[in-house]
Every structure is written in C-alpha cells, then in structure tokens.
C-alpha cells in the first residue's frame, strides 16, 4: 500500500504557535480579577490533626478565600486507588500532604496567609522503608485500607497494597540442571518526571455556576470525573478547557491540586491560578517509585536460560495514585525471553514517604534495569557476546509467554540483529576506559498482566468525529491532549490520508471536554493505536459518506469510486468525479446536514473483547547500545555514542518517532547517571532543579535511531506503541557499558561518579 500523507515527516500542527510563544498553557490565562492560590502542606510525616485555626489568615487584607477539609465533602479520591483526601481531615500521611489552601490578591499575600494558619498535630510513629513497613508491628500507614475503593482487585495486607506473581514450570527442580547460577540485588531511586511546565491550574466560575478549568493535565475527561467525584459535584458543571500541556511523562494524569483550585474559585467567586513551585513538585506530587530487586538466574553451558527466580518491591509512599500492576512488573522482570522455569513476585508497599504515581513506562524501567544488568553479568561469566546471548533466548512469533498469551509480530530479534550490525561497524579497536554496552526490553503497557488487573473497560475508550464544514473543509474533533508527542499532527495525517486531501486541509479541535467526545487521555503508549483507531474509523466513515453521495449524484457504483488528490472519482477515470467540496455539498443536500462521521469503541470491540492471544499483538520491543568513557580518577562517565533501535510497526511520522526516541534516551540517561530524589525520614533533601540533576545539552550526545517496522494487526496502519518505553533500556545499557569499560558493576541507580570511583578503588584494592 502506498501512502501519500502518513509516513511523511510533516511539521507539527501546533509548532508555529509554540515557536512564537503564542501557544496557551494553563498559567497563561489573564483575568483582571485573578487570585493566586497556595497550598499549606504538612510539615510532619505522620500525624493526627487535632485542630486547624484559619481565623488569622482569613482576616489578613487581600485574602479572599481560605479552605480546609471543612469546605470539602469527606470523600477519598485517587485515579485508581481512592486512598487520599483533597484536604486532610483526620490524618496527614507524609511531609507535603495537603492540609489547607488560600486564595489572595497576590502571591506574597497568599504566602503570608499560609504562615498565619495554625495546625495542631499529634505525631504518630512513621515508617520510611518497605522493608520496615512489612515487618510485624510496623506503623500502619492506612489503617482503613481494606475499606478503600479501587477499580482494581488488590487484596491489600497490612502496608502491602498489592502483590503480583508469575509462575511457570518448576524452578526448584531446575537449579540442579543449570551449568551456572548467578544471584544479585539491584536498586533504583525515586525520580521526578521533570516536565518544564510545573503543575498549574486556573479555574473560574461563571454566572450560571459552571466551573471552567484550564489545567496542566493530559487526561481532561479523567480530571473532570475526579474533580466531580472528590468534590461531589455533577460532571455537567465542570468544563475542562483546551490548553497545551508542557510535558507530562506520567505526572499529569490525575487530579491533585486541581480540585483545590476549583474550591478556591467557588469560595472566592473569582478566577484563581494555582501553580506548584519546584519544592512542592519534588516533595508533594506523585513521583516514580524506588525499588529493590533480587534476581537468581540459571543457564545451561550453551547459554540457554533455564530458570529465573526473583522479587521486586516498590515503595509507593503515602498514596498510590495508579496501580502499576505488580503482575506486569513480574513480566517486565521476565522480559522478551524464553525461560522454561519462572517464579517471579512483586509487591507495592505503603510508607510515609512522598506519594508515588506514574512515570514514563510504569512499572518497567526498574525491573528492566535489574534484569538486563543481570543478563550481562551472566553473559560475561559464560564468555558469550551479550547480543548473541539475547538472540539465543529471545521470543519468536507464536511463543507462549508465562501469562498464557501468545506473542504476535515481535520485533525483538530484528532489533538485536540491527544492533549487532551497528556494533560490528562501530566497535573499532578497544581503548582503555572506553566500553560498549547494550540492553533490550519488552513493554506492552496494560496488555500483559497475569493478575488480571484491568481497569474499568469503558474507561479506555476513545472516540473521534470527522466533521465537514459547509465549504467542504474538514475538522477532526478528538478529546486527545497535546503534551508534545504529536497526536494532533499524526491524527491529522491519518484523516488526510483516508480522505485523500492534504495535511494542511485538516483542522483539529481537541483537549476540551465540552467540545469533544470522551477520551481516556494521552498516555500509556496507547494514544496512536487507540485514539488513532477511532480517528481512522471516523475518517473512513466520512470517506464512505462522500463516496455514497458522489455515487448517487453521478449515478455510478460506490465501489468504483476512490477519494484521492482532493477529489472523489471513478478509479481509472479521474475526470469522472467531484471535488471534495462538491462531494461534501452533495452529501449535505442529500442528508440535510453536513457530514458528521464518528469512530469509537476501539478498545472494547477491537482489543478488550478480543481473545487472550490478540492481546499480545505488537509488544513493544527495542534494543539500545551505548559507548561510554569512564575517567578512572574521578569516576565521571561520559557518553560517546548512542544507538537506539525500536520496532515501531509503522512510522506514521518518522521525525516525530525519532523525537520520541531521542527524548526517551535523554530520560534514561538521567535515570542512569544523575537523577535521584533524596530523602531522610520522609523529608526531601534536594527539592530543586539544581540538586536534582536532569541531563543538559552537554550530558547528551547525538542519538542514532533506527526503526524496525514489523506491522501489528491491531494498530491503525500497523503501528505499535512507542513513546514511554524509549527510556527503558538506557540505564542498563549504560551500566553494562561502564562494566565493559572499567570492569565495575554498579547495581544501584543512579551511577554517580562517586559510586564508580569507590567501586574502582574497591576493585584495585582486591
């Protein structure tokens, strides 16, 4: 099939608005009577609230509203697990918990007002590590956990929120048959999504009492539901209005500060803007979980994987916004390999640390770092090349995973072969303190989960409309948000492709709960496949209506017509036809209204209801390779070359695909080398963007991305998901490169110069 619009690197729809600064984000709304909102956070990690006195704050000139739990219904909320209040009413669970909020005429007055709110706390024993939290007699973070509502089946126990297990064969018997058994422990730190736009909300109430919210949020319809649920308001009273989102990476898919902003606007009767500063961002928002992992792996003399046993623990902090699915975590430990004997477990544990939520490919980077580091150690002990080792063991078409699912259209082996080819060309002579490393991954978001935790099916729906204006111009209407990964662009390309018109002829209305049909939200690497399916369906419906109208007008068979080059015409006889505008006018005349085509129910009808096997169509596979240089005197690691090979199914817009890969690599480089939110007794020690080190332009090198295109059957035009997992193999690839450069294995991220230096010293001492 030859395409004309998709497969092309057309410029992004909204790029012009963004390079000129005209693009509107949630903090860019200007109102003459705008108030500034601020939140009072708990200074203690675990306490009972005895009293909150807001009288002095309310009396301060310039303060227009002060709210506490008394202004909220006492309803627990959360995107998946409902374990937190909008404002704490009886207990605080971490340093940073939301206790009260004010709206004032300016920021200085709001900050002054926060100082005047007096809260009496009775401190309770707190627990800061999962290891302590699972001990008998440990302080219980959520005593009423069993009664909490959740849309997943969790079976909590004490501080353990959820557990997962993946079993196949018999590991106990398998160990005897192994030529080599290797065990080790790995750990990963808490990290921050690090979007450049902080969480920022503006809310205003109109004279009819309807609330409009402009939010830095990638899931407007979920946000609307959560505001309604947590404040006990009807959904119809809430309008989430269109604004661009300045980066998400998992951190902007829930309602946390938005309900507070809404309450302040309702109470003050004025528009309110509430922006988190970076100290609040790094202390009181949902960050990525720290983990500890233990792996025991057995192989044959020939390098075939025979058995794996392992356990991974996630510290979910005081609240768990979204369960990541511990079963999925077990699958991530297992990876894209054939292993006959498997016993993997995972659990997620509450502590009084700051709360943890989603961040780019949850819960995958942590187990993949552990397993891919471990595989390299085993390969090196066996004396096998790491790429060959993975090729020997990688899954193939039709393999059955331990979940019982059959794998379809896997790209892992092809990404490994391309990586082998790249390394063959690039490797060159070995140099001291310079080494190559590689790592692979498998990711399939919510699709691989032996524990069967699938959230409410209706919720993953997408719908889209393709509308014709009376002059024949085309509008795509979708609730999808644009946080940078390019949905407005690629969906316009899809519509243009199907209708046979040009990319520039498609306008988009998006991101608005009043203007668009329901949409689950941009994320989970599902946007292009799930939303794209409904967009394609709507465009095809529109095309069929155009063809039907043309057929009637010209008295020809609909089957003989095609839509191409801005016309609908008889195939083989381009002169016999109508322009798109004429065809649309004919449809309007025949139907009495311009064309409104719809596409929907994709996830339910095409995937959700499908057989178990179809679920595993198009797992995401990829392999990264990296060359590093280590300074033995300082432990400093410098990247020299980076290669990232991903199976994308089909690249709808190659430039956008590359952009996702390059950004993902940047993400992974920070995870590998510099990023960690440090805390002691629940107190964040580095809550700013200097002490929390996101990679800069000098930390990065040019990235060579290579695309494998093995089409899926479930994605529109054969595409596979991509965005999140591009960061996943970076950290283990870099750890493996450091090992190959200087012979030290660092098993706890981030691999700071200090750790490398100490490991080198340790090694030379032996």
């Amino acid at each position: 099939m030859e395409y004309r619009v998709i497969g092309q690197s057309v410029p992004k729809k909204e790029a012009g608005e963004k390079v000129t600064g005209r693009m509107q984000y949630s903090g860019d709304l200007i109102f003459p009577d705008l108030l500034i909102g601020k939140i009072l956070h708990s200074p203690v990690p675990h306490a009972r609230i005895l009293n909150i006195d807001t009288s002095r704050a309310s009396a301060l000139p310039g303060v227009k509203a002060v709210i506490t739990h008394k202004d909220t219904p006492h309803i627990l909320t959360g995107r998946s697990v409902k374990d937190r209040p909008v404002l704490a009413w009886d207990r605080v669970h971490f340093i940073g918990d939301q206790v009260a909020a004010v709206a004032a005429v300016d920021e200085e007055t709001a900050i002054e007002a926060l100082d005047l709110i007096k809260v009496e706390y009775e401190e309770l024993p707190a627990v800061f590590s999962p290891r302590e939290a699972i001990e008998i007699g440990a302080p219980i973070v959520h005593p009423n956990l069993a009664s909490y509502k959740s849309d997943a089946v969790l079976k909590p126990q004490g501080n353990i929120l959820e557990q997962g297990r993946l079993v196949r064969g018999d590991t106990k018997q398998a160990w005897d048959k192994c030529y080599l058994i290797y065990e080790d422990d790995y750990s990963t730190p808490v990290v921050y999504q690090g979007f450049t736009q902080p969480h920022e909300t503006t809310a205003a109430v109109d004279t009819l009492g309807r609330i409009t919210v402009w939010a830095s949020n990638k899931a407007p319809f979920i946000l609307r539901q959560m505001i309604a649920q947590s404040l006990d308001l009807p959904i119809a009273r809430i309008h989430i209005a269109a604004v661009a989102v300045g980066g998400d990476f998992g951190g902007k898919g829930t309602a946390q500060t938005e309900p507070i902003c809404v309450l302040l606007a309702l109470k003050s009767h004025r528009p309110v803007r509430l922006t988190l500063n970076r100290e609040e961002e790094l202390t009181a928002t949902f960050l990525k979980e720290a983990t500890t992992t233990h792996i025991k792996l057995g192989v044959s003399r020939e390098g075939m994987l025979l058995a794996v046993q392992g356990h991974i623990t996630y510290d979910t902090g005081a609240y768990c916004d979204l369960t990541g699915g511990m079963g999925r975590s077990c699958n991530d430990l297992h990876g894209p390999y054939r292993i006959p004997n498997v016993d993997l477990t995972a659990n997620r544990v509450y502590t009084n640390n700051s709360p943890r939520g989603h961040m780019r490919a949850p819960p995958t980077p942590q187990p993949v770092f552990a397993m891919e580091s471990h595989l390299d150690m085993v390969a090196s002990k066996l004396g096998i090349d790491p790429v060959e080792f993975r090729l020997k063991n990688a899954v193939e078409e039709g393999d059955i995973l331990p979940t019982g699912q059959k794998i379809m259209n896997p790209g892992i082996k092809e990404t490994l072969r391309r990586t082998r080819e790249y390394l063959r060309q690039e490797k060159g002579e070995s140099r001291p303190n310079v080494g190559w490393g590689m790592a692979s991954f498998q990711y399939h978001g919510m699709a691989i989960d032996p524990s069967g935790i699938i959230r409410d099916r209706k919720m993953t729906q997408s719908s889209a409309w393709v509308k014709f204006n009376e002059d024949g111009s085309v509008v795509l209407v979708s609730g999808v948000t644009e946080q940078g990964c390019g949905p407005l662009t690629i969906f316009s390309q899809m519509v243009a492709e199907v209708l046979g018109i040009s990319y520039d002829d498609v306008s988009v209305v998006a991101m608005d709960t009043d203007a668009t049909p329901f949409e689950y939200g941009t994320g989970a690497s599902q946007t292009t496949s799930r939303v794209g399916f409904s967009v394609k369906m709507a465009a095809e419906d529109a095309r069929d209506q155009l063809i039907a109208a043309t057929a009637e007008k010209l008295s020809v068979e609909p089957a003989s017509l095609v839509a191409r080059g801005g016309r609908v015409y008889v195939q083989g006889d381009p002169k016999k036809g109508l322009s798109i505008a004429e065809a649309a006018a004919a449809a309007t005349a025949q139907q009495g209204t311009p064309i409104l085509a719809t596409g929907a129910k994709l996830r339910k009808s095409k995937l959700m209801g499908a057989s178990k096997e179809e679920w595993l169509d198009a797992p995401q596979h990829g392999t990264h390779a990296v060359q590093v240089e280590v300074d033995p005197d300082t432990g400093q690691v410098r990247l020299l070359k980076y290669f990232a090979c991903h199976d994308v199914g089909f690249a709808l817009n190659p430039q956008t695909v590359e952009g996702q890969i390059e950004g993902g690599v940047g993400f992974g480089v920070g995870y590998a080398l510099s990023e960690a939110v440090l805390s002691r007794n629940g107190k964040t020690l580095n809550p700013n963007l200097t002490d929390y080190r996101i990679p800069t332009s000098l930390d990065m090198v040019d990235i060579k991305s290579e695309l494998v295109e093995i089409p899926s059957i479930s994605g529109p035009f054969g595409i596979k998901g991509l965005g999140e997992a591009t960061n996943v193999p970076a950290a283990p690839a870099i750890a493996n490169a450091i090992y190959n450069a200087v012979g030290v294995r660092v098993t706890n991220l981030p691999i700071t110069p200090e750790k490398v230096y100490l490991a080198l010293k340790d090694k030379s001492g032996k």
């Binding site: 900050i111 980066g247 952009g659």
Partner: protein, 166 residues
C-alpha cells in the same frame, strides 16, 4: 518571597519605571521585589515567556536584555529602567518567522513547547554574537536550558541549520 529584612508595606511601595520591550517603551508601576518574568507575563500580558522554576535553574524564562540572554526570573524589573528587552514576541519580524523559528519547526525540535521560547531566545543571543557556531558551541550555549522532551538532539540540529541558512 517578600524581602525578609524590610516591613512588607515598604517593599510593596511601587516604583515607576520604563521598560522598552520589543522596541516599544512602556511605563509601569512595579513593586521592587518583582522579577521581570512576572511583570512581562502578568502586567504586560506577554505570556510567551514561560516560567519554569523561578530560581534560575531551568532557563525556561530566558529573554534578552540589551542583546544578552538572561533568566528573567532572576532579574528584577526595577533594575531594567530604560533598558531594551527582547522577548519571544519580538522575534517574529514583519510577520515572518525568524530563521531559528523556521528551523525549529522544520527539524521537529518542538515537542511540548514550554522550553521552546527560552531556548530560541538563548540561541538568538548565541547567533547574534557567533553566526556560525559548531555543535559544541551550540551545546554549551544552551546548557542552562532544560528540555525534558527532546534529548536536545533536534534542538541542536535546528540551531545549527538556522545558522547555516542565514
């Protein structure tokens, strides 16, 4: 934060200043503690300049003062009385995109777009001083501007291609 060493009422006494923003002088009454970024955004409605952290850690709010790139969150507006300030709104000339803006669109250097205005201002300051930078010079110039979306690859490429096309 209000100044801690002075009573709040005194720090709030507004000062009359003239800012020449994108060539147009404007008279403004501004509290002495307010950073330029807030005055641009909240008083002048120039919201193209984004505020990422307020502490000079991210470079998102970069503007040019007398041709030099500065963090507008670390620059007090009252210190700029009578000075020339260029913001992202002043980069488009006669309705035409600047070479950098064209290159950012063409090379796909824009993702979420929040860091984009600041990086374009930083790159403009670089190209105004050094019209033909190499890759290392570009990377050094934008080292204070955090971008979380792109891994900087296409941003560096766009700045180099804008320099070439000039």
């Amino acid at each position: 934060m209000p100044c801690l060493y002075m009573p709040l009422e005194r720090t709030r006494m507004k000062k009359l200043i003239t800012l020449i923003v994108n060539g147009t002088p404007s008279q403004l009454a501004v509290e002495p503690y307010r950073p330029l970024v807030d005055v641009l955004r909240d008083d002048m409605g120039l919201t193209g300049t984004k505020k990422g952290c307020g502490h000079g850690h991210c470079g998102t709010c970069t503007v040019m003062v007398e041709g030099k790139a500065v963090n507008s969150c670390l620059t007090l507006a009252v210190d700029l009385d009578g000075r020339n300030i260029t913001t992202i709104e002043g980069v488009v000339a006669d309705g035409q995109y600047h070479a950098l803006q064209k290159a950012f669109i063409q090379e796909g250097a824009v993702q979420c777009g929040f860091c984009t205005p600041g990086i374009i201002m930083m790159a403009k300051a670089l190209l105004d001083e050094n019209p033909t930078p190499n890759e290392k010079e570009v990377r050094e110039a934008i080292v204070g501007n955090i971008c979380r979306c792109t891994g900087y690859a296409k941003i560096v490429k766009a700045i180099l291609s804008a320099a070439e096309g000039r």
